[in-house]
Symmetry: C2
Subunit: 307 residues, 2 copies
């Protein structure tokens, strides 16, 4: 089945303890689409500027991603600069040049309308809601957001949360969104705002999925997927979007939609996030094989598996 | 088989968002012994003052803990006051009155000499080493330490680390001990200092055990046990010592000593830590049943178990 992904395409300039990269292809839609492309058909809606080359686009099309929804606007592509020199878990932003992304109005090509799954990347909640309304036939909608919208566009975000089936955010975002420091209590509050399931990403500690009572089947407890302790983190940029791509991509590849599938999807999310950080930019996300993905899935599984 | 535990007995005064408790029985040896007592025979070496009552001692003896190694000294028992009002993950110390603990010289009763397992609670590394030398027939030694010794008694600690088979510390302590921010690299450095296995406790995210190559069997990867997301944390005091008690207690209850046993022990550590925080002081550690422990073990297992 196919996923429609809406988000950003950017050129990133990144500094980490392992080195630097200038103007490498990035953005939430890019990482998400590449990660999901190993599992299912992906269609992308985003905006780029005149500096976005045919070679850039081939990074996506080579992986089979449908790029007909990428709008080519006058001006420059979104550029972001950040560093992880002191803390690999949190980017320090050097600059954000929104450029053509500032006036992004997602337009969904007619050929994308039959997508069964939708992923709303981290863009303004009102834009997320507009896309979701246009795609009201989808089976499942995943969504991301960030502190910037939680604080600055809370009202709009509350409306969007009612339209999202699975929200994927990190610990800090969940606590801020709920106004609650205790994580399981924060999760319950967020679930009461709309989503049937909430994935909270813990960085190097993995991720937990919390379910609304009765959602996606029966069960009393949340579920946690570990992350592999990684010795060489080259570049954390895009780990969260790659996680979302693995998570949503695996779900879209399955015939059933139940808790067991969501649990496995949580493992695949962690797997794709762990690959993303091994190289700068999208390099690793471009060059994977399904065999490598399955092998790491087994490692993740063994990481917590008791005989 | 039996475990000899050396550590502190204290009266704690604790403030948390859930309430307060004054002068409740605590200390590393107390939490450890109670938690381990659900799995195996426990003998304790510690020091108390004249304010330590027969009723206090019965908390331990009721659980079958052998208290003949508790020295009754002139003066007052160690007292600690701390609060978790702003952060449940880290205590803010209000006061530390070492009292009789200041001149603690562990003395091991003759009846304890045949103990097969040893746990060196968080005391001065030189005292830990002295006890370990006296008990040189043990099968396995577990040990704990803290930032105070890592910074202030590094040389002595390095000697002790050579005598410990399994070290149990938290993320911050591991990074400080190794002088390395990346956790798996820090783990490798700590393992090179002596221990065959290193348990790193991640608080609400569970714990990871790292093995030296070839230690306790074969395997390339570390192992991670999750922690149950707990909505009501009443009092985090003693969670780490209860974790150690569950971990060491389970190991001592098994006939074999291999990686599979250590993995299960990591789960039992998490189980006992999760019980400890449900009530103030040692209340929950006094009143458990083996059935409750097994039921929670299953919950922890399901938390990361894929079909």
């Amino acid at each position: 089945m196919s996923i429609l992904a809406v988000g950003s395409i950017a050129f990133d300039s990144i500094a980490t303890p392992a080195g630097r990269a200038e103007n490498v292809l990035g953005g939430s839609a890019t990482y998400f689409s590449l990660a999901a492309s190993y599992f299912t058909d992906v269609r992308v809606v985003a905006v780029v500027g005149e500096d976005f080359t045919a070679e850039n686009e081939q990074v996506l099309t080579k992986r089979g991603v449908d790029t007909r929804g990428i709008e080519h606007a006058k001006g420059k592509t979104f550029r972001w600069g950040g560093q992880y020199l002191e803390n690999l878990n949190e980017a320090k932003t050097d600059f954000t040049d929104l450029n053509v992304f500032e006036n992004f109005q997602p337009r969904i090509p007619a050929e994308y309308r039959d997508s069964q799954f939708l992923f709303l990347g981290n863009i303004h909640p009102s834009l997320q809601a507009a896309v979701r309304h246009e795609m009201d036939g989808v089976q499942l909608t995943g969504g991301d957001t960030m502190n910037f919208w939680i604080q600055g566009s809370r009202k709009e975000l509350m409306e969007t949360l009612k339209l999202v089936n699975v929200l994927l955010i990190n610990d800090g975002e969940a606590k801020m969104l709920a106004g609650e420091k205790n994580l399981p209590r924060a999760a319950q509050k967020v679930l009461s705002l709309g989503p049937q399931a909430l994935v909270i990403k813990h960085g190097e500690y993995g991720a937990t999925i919390f379910f609304r009572e009765g959602a996606f089947g029966i069960g009393r407890h949340p579920f946690r997927a570990p992350a592999l302790p990684i010795e060489e983190v080259k570049d954390p940029t895009g780990a969260g979007d790659s996680f979302a791509g693995g998570f949503m991509g695996y779900i879209a590849s399955q015939e059933q939609l139940n808790r067991e599938v969501l649990k496995r999807a949580l493992f695949y999310g962690g797997v794709m996030g762990s690959f993303a950080v091994e190289r700068f930019g999208t390099e690793r996300m471009q060059s994977l094989t399904r065999e490598e993905i399955e092998a790491r899935f087994q490692v993740f599984r063994e990481l917590t598996h008791l005989e």
